[in-house]
Each structure stands twice: as C-alpha cells, then as structure tokens.
C-alpha cells in the first residue's frame, strides 16, 4: 500500500500543501460541480488546464499518478463503449461498425471527460491535504449543525483511513500464508473466500479493540484542542480562480 501514490497524501512544501484546508475543500466542490455541468469543449479545456496547473504547482509525481490511474482508465473506457453502443443516433460516417452512434460516442466522451477531471481534482486534494487536516475541516464544517457529533464523525473518518493500509497489509500476509499451504488446490471460490473473510474480520475487530484501549490510554476525549486554520492572500486567489471557472461553466 505504501507504494501507491493515488489518493495518498504526499508531503511537499508548496502553495497547495500550505493552503487553508477549508478553502481547498470548497475548491474541490466547485471544480467537481464545474465538471458535472460542463457541456462545451472550451469548458473541458479550461478545467483540464486548471487541473494540470494544480498538479504541476503541487509537485505531485505525475508519472506515478498516471500509472495508478490505470484502474480508472478501464472504467472510463467501459463508460465510453456503453454510451457509444446504447445511445441511439446517426452512425459515424465512414466507420465500419454501424451500431456506434455519433451522439452516443460524444455523450460517452463527455462523461469520460467529467470523470477524468473529478478523479484528478480528488487526487490533487488528497495528495496535498493530510488526513488530519481533512479531519479538522470536516469537523469545522459539521460544527454549526445541531445534534451532529462532529468530533466523533471526524475521528471515525480519520481512523478508517488510518486503518485501511493496516487491513490491506494483514490481508496480503494472510493470502501469502494460505498460498504457502497450497490454498490454490481448493477449487471452490466460496470456500477460499471464507478462509480469508472470517479470519480477516476477526483480526480487524481484535485490532479495533486494541486501538480503543490505546486511545483510552492516551485520554481520548471529544473535548479536544481545536485546529487553528490560517488563510493567506494566495488561498483566496486560488478560491477566486475556482469560482471564476465555476461561473464560466454555468453561465
């Protein structure tokens, strides 16, 4: 898991890493909404320019990100193919496969464009924002809502993300241990899943129990030190750029 760069925080000292987490989350919303409403080619070009610009100034490892994005590439391709075949319309001139419609292909490409931009925006935000900052931002946004235990929700989010790599490590170790005892010879996939799911679940619950004890030992409390957010002029400028992009797309 440590080798995967996508959706992982990568510590660097850049404008985006230093940006106020609250404004960064608003930027994420604005750019994702802009991608959802984009309808013309120039909308996509502007959004793509903004995302590439963000990737460059965040100094994120673009090559590694593109390598990790392969999984999403398959989903995007499926979206294009399904739309191209299923949406009725005129066939593409001079193209041998007549069941592909021009309208379907364009719709598919548009959808793929939106998805790509949203994925890249998320990669920029998660790559430049530590989990603790995201946790503090979530807590800050939830605080004014009555009857919502904002600290508990934020802690749950933070613990979930912290535990994911640990659970994957356990899973990998279990799979190796079972392979070492020739689990491949068992042909029934349900039986094989059983051998993984139950031990993993029991180990995860035991680990959760240990974490609860460890948190209690360090005086876990919902009355905690509140995060201090700092906003500078560059943060406001970046927010202004995102608002402009959003207005450009919807107007």
């Amino acid at each position: 898991m440590a080798e995967i760069t996508f959706f992982h925080y990568i510590h660097k000292d850049t404008v985006l890493h230093r940006m106020d987490g609250r404004l960064k989350l608003i930027c994420l919303l604005l750019l994702s909404l802009s991608a959802s409403f984009a309808s013309k080619l120039e909308h996509y070009l502007v959004l793509l320019f903004v995302v590439i610009f963000a990737l460059l100034i965040a100094k994120l490892p673009i090559k590694a990100l593109l390598k990790d994005i392969k999984f999403f590439g398959i989903i995007i391709l499926i979206v294009i193919v399904v739309d191209a075949f299923n949406i009725p319309g005129d066939p593409i001139p001079y193209f041998p496969v007549t069941s592909i419609s021009t309208k379907g292909l364009i719709t598919g490409l548009r959808f793929a464009g939106r998805l790509t931009i949203i994925i890249l925006v998320c990669a920029v935000i998660t790559g430049t924002t530590s989990l603790m900052t995201l946790r503090n931002v979530v807590e800050w946004f939830l605080r004014p809502i009555p009857f919502v235990p904002e600290v508990r929700i934020a802690t749950m989010i933070s613990l979930t993300f912290t535990l994911i790599p640990v659970i994957f490590d356990n899973l990998a170790e279990m799979m190796y241990a079972q392979k070492a005892r020739c689990v491949e010879l068992r042909k029934n996939p349900i039986e094989r899943i059983n051998f993984i799911v139950f031990p993993l679940l029991s180990q995860t619950l035991r680990k959760a129990d240990e974490i609860v004890y460890a948190m209690e030992a360090r005086c876990y409390s919902e009355v905690r030190t509140r995060a201090v957010f700092k906003t500078n002029k560059i943060d406001w400028l970046l927010l202004a750029i995102c608002i402009s992009v959003f207005l450009f797309v919807i107007l």
Partner: protein, 249 residues
C-alpha cells in the same frame, strides 16, 4: 510515598477466568522495575489496571497516594502505557500527528501541542520523520514513536508492555537505549518482559508473576535464580553477574 500502589488487585473475566489475584505491590518514584512471567501469567492485565483501562473486580490502584478512580484522566496522564504492538497505538497519518493525539485529547492550546510534539520527537530522535507516514517506519522506530506519543503527555511513570517483541538486534538496542535514557531522566519505569537477558542489568527490582499471582519480588540478583520455576528462562551462565545482562555495550 509510593508513586504506584496496588492493594489486593484482582481481576476476574466474565467467563470466570481469574486473570490476576490479590496483587499488592508498591513502586517508588524513580524505580526501574521489570515484571516477568510466562505467557498468560497476567502481566498485561495488571499493566492495564495501572493505567485505568481495566476496572478491578476487587482491590484498588493508587497513583501518588490517590485512588485511580478519583480522576482517571489525571491517572492516565501520569502513567503512560506503551503497548506491545505499536501498530495498535498509532492513530495519526503522520508521525507528528500521532504524537499530537494525546496532548490534543488533553485540550492543550494549539501552540503548546506543537511545542510538546517537537520536544517529544526530539527526545526519541524522530524529528526528521515528523511528516512521514508511521506505517513506513521500521519496528524500532515505531516503538520510539509510541514512546514519543506517551512522552507528549508528560507522564511520571512509563509502562512498557513487551517492548522488544518482534524487533531485530538494532531495534532492541534502539528501544533499550531510549528506556534507559528515560529512566536516567527521572521517569519511573515498569517493563513487562520475559526476555530478561536484554534488560535486567538496568533494573532495580525484578517481580515475577505466575498464574495471575505475584510470586517473587526483590533485587534482580536474588530473584533471578528462581525464575525458571515460573516459566521464565534464567539467562545467567555459571559465574555470570546480573550486571552483565544487557544488550547495550
């Protein structure tokens, strides 16, 4: 007055298993106590009572002369517990965030949290890793991070539960050096282990637990010869002195 005291401490699990029984022990300020015992002898259950994580079925725990139940948060701040598996203790996504967890729970002002995190990381020599993900650290470094997380709460007593489990030779040396340094700085140390050969030379006292009971308590050089009666390897060779039982050069 002892800094930690237990009186007839007994813990019985809901299924009737007696984990510890009638343990009365006094630990004085600045002492380095090794608690040894075979697997299942009740060492970890005992340690968890000293931090208020478990409630006794019978008996009591006093910290600085006050019952632990009087102010559990203060007791947990005074008695830090470093868990056997450091992965269970790590809750932050970066080293610094993890160390900040305790002081933030104590609701310290943000600038004070920052200062105490810096100080704790410096104390264990992990300052250069402050922005790293804890899961990328080595075994010895993870233990040091767990220690920093406890130091950030300014404890008087630090309990180490099997601190050498799963560590290679450099890892054991790293952690042992840290423990000895903390003792020299004035912390009271309680170290749970069955690997006496790694640490006993630094201890003032050796306590042995067996089947939930405290069976031996005294100077290491007096108690060590009985250890094999209770499933703990006696690490001395013929004519060897306890003072030589260390992995530090």
């Amino acid at each position: 007055m002892p800094i930690v005291e237990t009186e007839n401490l007994t813990h019985i699990f809901p299924d009737g298993t007696i984990a510890i029984q009638d343990i009365s022990l006094k630990i004085n300020k600045g002492e380095f106590v090794v608690i040894a015992g075979a697997n299942g002898s009740g060492k970890t259950v005992f340690a968890r009572h000293l931090n208020g994580l478990l409630k006794p079925t019978k008996g009591s725990v006093l910290i600085d002369g006050k019952p632990i139940t009087e102010n559990i948060i203060e007791a947990r701040r005074k008695v830090g517990l470093v868990f056997q598996n450091p992965d269970s203790q790590i809750v932050g996504q970066t080293v610094a965030e993890d160390v900040a967890f305790g002081p933030e729970n104590l609701n310290l002002p943000a600038n004070q949290v920052k200062a105490v995190v810096k100080e704790s990381l410096e104390a264990v020599g992990l300052s250069r890793f402050s922005t790293r993900s804890p899961h990328t650290l080595s075994g010895g470094e993870k233990r040091k991070l767990a220690i920093a997380g406890i130091l950030a709460m300014k404890p008087k007593v630090i309990i180490f539960d099997e601190p050498f489990t799963g560590l290679d030779y450099p890892g054991v040396v790293q952690v042992l050096k840290q423990i000895v340094k903390l003792h020299n700085m004035g912390h009271t140390i309680l170290l749970i282990t069955h690997e006496l050969e790694k640490v006993l030379a630094h201890a003032d006292r050796l306590v042995i637990m067996h089947k939930g009971k405290l069976v031996e308590d005294g100077k290491p050089e007096d108690v060590i010869y009985h250890s094999e009666n209770y499933g703990v390897r006696m690490p001395l060779n013929d004519g060897q002195k306890v003072a030589t039982l260390t992995w530090l050069k």
